[in-house]
């Protein structure tokens, strides 16, 4: 059985019983739908993108207050006098979305370039501030709020009753989940998932991480604003209380308890928390003998327990159970390049051309000189090895020729361009592919998914196209390309296994395949042979020779001398940050300074 069948069954069941449910249940389901809409945005932010926000309730408030103001303020009525009254809520929706997008973008722009905890801290301040602004603006009714909002109307049908509006709420929620599900299963979705594992890796694959993070934050905020708009027309009354910071924390709680990595986890979390809150508000005051918001104590402690004991939330437990009971099968993926979509192709430069050049590169960390006037270049169609004892400054140098850090003095040129101050993704755009010394893969995702991320730059379909499934042809081409590189690197057997389950040596090869999927002109490999067995090393060497023959420029940082000497055309040796030798393997092996550096002793 396919998982879709279960979803369709759930929706059909809900639709079938909707007309017969008691009014109280319908209202409860309306609220669950509204909360789920906010929580699903938080799942995207927290579980998928590795960010978080405590201020979602404030965005809900923006959506609610925008429409409340448009529908009731005399000034608004004056400006909109040319429109029929029934359209006011829609103007309110647009206003709410625009204001929300602007504020979310602004908040994101100032915090998202900094390390991850500044955004949530910013949202706490923002969530508190907006509450006080709502409460103190007399135009918005102060702490008493705005009442007598009109109901929504669609095609002349009034949606005044929760039973009618609830249909819209759940339709919006299901559409949002569908669109987000599509987004996650696409080129952009891979980029979003990569944000969580570390931005450096994503940037090196050509992903503009700051941009993706801002977009994700704006998306979550917009979902909250839509929820607020619907909320205002369900309640027909707004006041600041439900948009307080505490409620913002509760939304996050829903996402975390349900399972912040899963879209349906949001619905599960919203349902559980809503029902639990209902019960707790009922019997906690009776139990304790006083009234107050004591459910926050239970929620807080529960959240603590979930994060300590089941950090992935409750959805995986439920999903695992469903898997066993209904014998669900994972969906098969189309790998054939259907529809004739093709990816960007790069014209490789002719052999012998200088691709990457470091010119007198010096790096100082305060008093320490990590690299001292290092010169080296990598040419198309050669393997250049960089060797040196531990602490020679190889990693520092590697960082500077891959855009992770800037030289203090000197220049790095890639394809003839000066790269000072440019980010890693600019290096990727010019055709630099790299691997990492400490493997950086999305461990839970399949090898195929990981390698496909490497081809990110070669596709162009954006968020909207991905959500609407207008990217299928391109996606199939991306996956086909990824599969080609996987087969070429000898990983075909494990293409569909999670990357983390492979031995470390193989994970390094996955990184090479990922770099190749970007069709690089120059490949930087950071200790590719570490952790490989003898036969694996041989096949790696064979692969690199083949790539060299195709015209790739390859730079290898490696400790395995046998591997390097058999493979490299030229070798540069670093010691204490300075180049001590340069030449063919034979020349380098005969160089007395190199022998001294590796074996110790004097140069006598």
């Amino acid at each position: 059985m396919k998982p879709q069948v279960l979803v369709i069954g759930f929706v059909a069941l809900l639709a079938a019983v909707w007309g017969f449910l008691p009014p109280f249940t319908v209202t409860l389901l309306c609220y669950i739908g509204l909360y789920s809409l906010v929580a699903v945005g938080l799942v995207m932010l927290t579980g998928v993108g590795g960010m978080t926000s405590f201020g979602q309730a404030a965005f809900v408030g923006l959506g609610a207050y925008a429409t409340a103001w448009i529908c009731t303020a005399p000034e608004a009525a004056e400006w909109l006098s040319f429109l029929p009254k029934g359209l006011y809520p829609w103007v309110g929706l647009v206003l709410g979305l625009v204001v929300t997008a602007l504020i979310a973008w602004g908040l994101g722009a100032v915090t998202l370039r900094l390390s991850g905890h500044y955004l949530p801290l910013g949202t706490i301040a923002w969530g508190l501030s907006l509450y006080y602004i709502f409460g103190n603006l007399q135009a918005l009714g102060g702490f008493t709020g705005i009442s007598s909002l009109p109901p929504l109307e669609i095609f002349g049908i009034s949606l005044a009753s929760p039973r009618m509006l609830g249909i819209v709420i759940w339709a919006v929620l299901l559409l949002a989940i569908w669109a987000l599900h599509n987004l996650l299963d696409s080129r952009e979705g891979r980029a979003i998932r990569a944000l969580k594992t570390g931005r450096l890796m994503a940037e090196s694959m050509g992903v503009d991480t700051a941009n993706q993070r801002i977009k994700l934050f704006v998306l979550a905020a917009l979902l909250a604003a839509v929820s607020g708009w619907l909320y205002a027309h369900l309640q027909r009354f707004v006041n600041p209380t439900p948009f307080n910071l505490n409620i913002g924390i509760e939304y996050l709680f829903m996402a975390v308890v349900g399972g912040s990595g899963h879209l349906w986890g949001a619905v599960l979390g919203a349902t559980l928390i809503t029902l639990l809150k209902e019960q707790l508000q009922d019997w906690l005051p009776r139990l304790l003998g006083t009234s107050g918001n004591f459910e926050t104590v239970v929620f807080g402690l529960l959240m603590l327990l979930v994060l300590q004991r089941a950090s992935t939330g409750l959805w995986p437990l439920l999903a695992g159970f469903a898997q066993r009971v209904f014998k669900l099968q994972p969906p098969a993926r189309a790998l054939a390049a259907a529809g004739g979509a093709s990816l960007d192709q790069r014209q490789l430069p002719p052999a012998g051309e200088q691709i990457l050049k470091a010119d007198q590169v010096t790096k100082r960390f305060a008093g320490l000189v990590a690299n001292n006037a290092v010169d080296m270049d990598v040419r198309a169609g050669e393997v250049h090895a960089l060797i040196g004892p531990n602490g020679a400054g190889k990693s520092t140098f590697f960082n500077m020729i891959s855009g992770v850090d800037d030289p203090t003095e000197g220049q790095v040129r890639l394809m003839g361009q000066v790269m000072q101050g440019k980010p890693s993704r600019a290096f990727a755009a010019l055709g630099l592919g790299r691997t990492f010394q400490h493997v950086r893969l999305l461990g839970e995702r399949s090898v195929l998914d990981n390698v496909a991320l490497g081809a990110h730059r070669r596709g162009h379909k954006g968020w909207i196209a991905s959500m609407l499934r207008a990217d299928r042809a391109e996606e199939a081409a991306v996956l086909a390309e990824a599969m080609r590189q996987i087969e070429r690197c000898g990983l075909a057997d494990v293409a569909h296994t999670p990357a983390a389950s492979l031995p470390l040596g193989q994970q390094r090869i996955v990184e090479i395949a990922r770099a190749l999927a970007g069709q690089p002109a120059v490949l930087l490999l950071d200790e590719p042979a570490a952790g490989l067995r003898h036969l694996e090393k041989q096949s790696l060497a064979k692969l690199l020779m083949q790539l060299r023959a195709e015209g790739l420029a390859i730079l290898v940082v490696e400790h395995d001398m046998e591997f390097v000497m058999n493979l490299a055309d030229r070798i540069t040796v670093l010691e204490f940050g300075t180049v001590i030798a340069h030449g063919t393997p034979a020349e380098v092996q005969a160089n007395p300074r190199v022998i001294a550096a590796y074996l110790g002793g004097d140069l006598a």
């Binding site: 100032v110 801290l121 918001n293 004591f294 402690l301 994060l307 300590q308």
Partner: protein
Amino acid sequence: MDLQIALMLVQDGIVNGAIYALMALALVLVFSVTRVIFIPQGEFVAYAALAMAALQSGKLPPLLWMLLGMAAMCLVVEAVRQARGLEVDWKSTLFWAVALPALAALMLLVVKPQAMWLQVVAVLLLVTPMGPLVYRLAFRPLAHATVLILLIVSVALHLAMVGLGLFFFGAEGSRTEAFSEARWDVGGLTITGQSVVILGVTALLVVAMYFFFERTIVGKALRATAINRVGARLMGIPTALSGDLSFALAALIGAVSGLLIAPVTTIYYDTGFLIGLKGFVAAIVGGLSSYPLALAGALLVGQLESFSSFWASAFKEVIVFTLIIPVLWWRSLHTHHVEDEE
């Protein structure tokens, strides 16, 4: 506004700024040592203030039951860890979960202090051990989690602690007696003895912390842990010790702040949160890592708050919290390359 009002506002701002400075110090300390962004810091302020108020009205602060409950839970957790074959440092466990809570109980149940300084000691004994206990119960099991997860835990804890504050102390606010009733008239400006006490104690704490970190081996160990956690562990500084200590210091600083501020403003069960957050704004000015910048930030926050309460009192909080936007923007201008997170 004339000069006299301006001077009065400046004075107000300095006094409040001193409290925010203490908050900021505690937050920077906890974050740099344990990576926990400790949102519930302000709760210690409210707990201490309300416990003091209860003592002064001749009641037993019900917080004692919470402390004893936490201590009992901590003992159970350590016993379970022992049973699972994990190494348990019983010496520090007995100190935080038995000795100090027992002393607090002795003070509150047997001594029933009447003198103000004894009451202060009782409150500090009551609140300080809560720091390490909170660390052991909430954060230590997640020592390897990301900063983000620790932050979410922190917020969850805040939610629980505020709720418990409401349960133990009720919704009414309280004020305590001033430590000094003295008043001086300096050129038309009234300076209260209490504000001198606040500034004096703050300065004393800052200097004491400076000496602690610069001159004592334990302080140096904490600093080492802040700079490089793994390296410090390899040098034989246990991570758990630094966690216990930094949280104890944070709780102690929070409790002192609460005792200082309670005679000046009415404290409710949820007031601490706002005080703590203003400390955060100050700490963020220093990038959550620089103590001197955090102190400067605290003075700035104090002044901003005091002047905005004069000009736009309804939007006082909004103005203070929006300060972090330009601060963050300024910080983000100075980052070119992507920071890689752990």
